[in-house]
């Protein structure tokens, strides 16, 4: 990205027409408070003109991301640019003020000015125009969003769907170069939602800008999205078409991020509060596999997921005796493969498990596919996760 001086920063200069077909490029880090604990938002992505859905649980950093793009929040480091314009660059201290970014932002709460009429709200950003131009631009957008008849009404007197249209009109009348929508339709019923989405699509046909659309509704992801980005705890865990990203099991994604190569579905079979342990049954070929695990909340019959790191499993070539580890499981090696400096063995023991070994261990034990082995897993190497 070129230096800030060469970039025309002032939205008020030149004609009203902003950049068309500009791509949003984000690559930054930002500490934020995600509900109860601090998180680091750290991500890099590009958004082309069109709808990009940001999907994630509350506290995953979606709103913080939008605030950083709009200039309401300052990233700790990184860059944000929109086409040829740099909005933020920590390497040269460039941080364009929110008022000069030409970003359209519709807040979750809509943030309509409660002491103004519909028309005053919509015309609020047009103070740089003459009175006649302002009236003309305002009237055109009120028409486009079917709220011309409400122009003189106070915004407290109109319905939720109408308020939504006013908020959109107020942002779009300025011809923003990017549109940020923070769960804008969450409170509306499906029919009104669809009509507003149609109006928004129509507007988009003639303007072609990136639209970042935050939602935690799965239906909206499929209804709107050309692309979807899934955020979890401040990170992008998946991106692609809505179909690609929504079909991947989220829990497994999170588990794999935490480094569990083995994630197994289990049911609590017996609890031993006096020992601080319980036994879990895992369905497998030729009968269940029973594991002793640490005690967690939930009684007999609770469905859980057990995560075991491949590096936490010991492997023996004859039945071990005199061990403190409570789980000793017989099995057979299915395959064995070298990955860089470790060896990954797949072992069939009613279920399939991945076990990581050193090269030396493989050689001294003469491990090969088909060999009978015993897996040794300590109780506290079994990490229990909730099933969503």
């Amino acid at each position: 990205m070129s230096g800030a001086a060469a970039v025309p920063n002032n939205r008020r200069s030149g004609s009203d027409a902003g950049q068309r077909n500009a791509r949003l490029r984000c690559s930054f880090r930002k500490h934020y408070e995600g509900g109860t604990q601090p998180f680091v938002l750290g991500l890099a992505f590009e958004a082309a003109p069109g709808f990009t859905i940001l999907f994630g649980a509350s506290g995953s950093g979606k709103t913080t991301l939008l605030d950083c793009i709009a200039g309401l929040s300052t990233p700790d480091s990184g860059q944000i640019s929109l086409g040829q314009r740099t909005l933020f660059d920590s390497s040269n201290g460039h941080n364009l003020a929110a008022a000069k970014r030409n970003v359209g932002y519709v807040f979750q709460s809509l943030a309509l000015f409660p002491h103004m009429t519909v028309e005053q709200n919509v015309n609020y950003g047009l103070s740089h125009l003459t009175k006649a131009e302002r009236a003309q631009r305002g009237a055109a957008v009120l028409d486009a969003f079917h709220i011309a008849h409400l122009a003189k009404r106070n915004v407290r007197e109109i319905s939720g769907g109408e308020s939504q249209r006013v908020a959109l009109a107020r942002a779009l009348v300025l011809d923003p170069e990017i549109l940020l929508l923070d769960e804008p339709l969450a409170a509306l019923d499906a029919a009104i939602k669809l009509r507003i989405i149609d109006d928004l699509r129509e507007w988009h046909q003639s303007h072609r800008v990136p639209i970042l659309y935050v939602t935690h509704s799965r239906e909206e992801v499929f209804a709107l999205g050309e692309r979807a980005i899934i955020l979890d705890a401040g990170r992008i865990v998946a991106q692609g078409t809505p179909h690609e990203v929504m079909m991947a099991p989220l829990q497994a994604t999170v588990a794999q991020l935490a480094g569990f190569e083995n994630v197994l579905d289990a049911v609590v079979e017996r609890v031993r509060p006096e020992c601080g342990t319980m036994t879990c049954r895992i369905a497998g070929d030729g009968g269940p596999l029973v594991l002793e695990t640490p005690l967690v909340r939930g009684g007999v019959g609770t469905a859980l997921r057990v995560g075991i790191r491949a590096g936490d499993i010991l492997l023996a070539t004859c039945a071990p005796v005199g061990l403190s580890a409570r789980n000793v499981i017989p099995g057979r090696i299915l395959s064995i493969e070298r990955r860089d400096v470790i060896v990954a063995a797949r072992v069939k023991c009613r279920v399939e498990m991945e076990v990581h070994l050193t090269l030396a261990a493989r050689d001294s034990l003469h491990l090969a596919p088909g060999i009978e082995v015993w897996l040794v897993i300590k109780t506290h190497s079994c990490h229990l996760m909730q099933v969503s």
Binding site: G71, K100, Y105, F107, S109, A111, F113
Partner: protein, 226 residues
Amino acid sequence: MAIDWQTLWLTLELALVVSVLLQIIGLPISYWIAFSRWRWKFLVEALVGMPIVLPPTVLGFYVLVALGPRSPLGRWWILLTGHTLAFTFSGLVIGSVLYSLPFAVQPVAASFAAVDRKLIAASATLGASPARTFFRVIAPLSLPGLIAGVALSFAHTMGEFGVVLMVGGNIPGVTRTVSIDIYDRVQASDYAGANATALLLLVLCFMLLAVVYGFNRKGWVLHLIE
């Protein structure tokens, strides 16, 4: 039992001058208190709030010392005008401004802080400068607080006693205010005169506070700013 009208006019003049000055000084302080993220901000808030808990004689004493010919401020004033600040109307104004500052700042800062931050953010994303955001969004939505700030600084200045006595003394037509007049009359056993004057102050203060609370009724305010 005649009311001393000269004293009453002087009191009203003092209250008016002090209220106007307090808005000029108090608004930026209120804005800063409401929106600054400085971690030591609470120290400034405590400082501004001091006159609420401090005995007026303590505040008056330090103002008197600060205005006297031995302090830099007092010397500078003498150099400028040829006379001392203590026991003058100007000195009284300075003392009263300090004494009533929390009453001008606290309601205003509280109502600024109560404005939904998303409205301020929305204003910024719509291209408005901080000044435009203040005049078009923050101030109109803080109108009850702004009115309370003006009325309370006026009423509080009208009713002060200790600071006036310490800084201004009791010079008829220059520094004698209604509250000191009442004290004088009681000392002289003129209970009828004290009563008439006290009643007048009582009614005036009630009317002022009624206006404040009246404006804080939702219907009125919304009607006014529409």
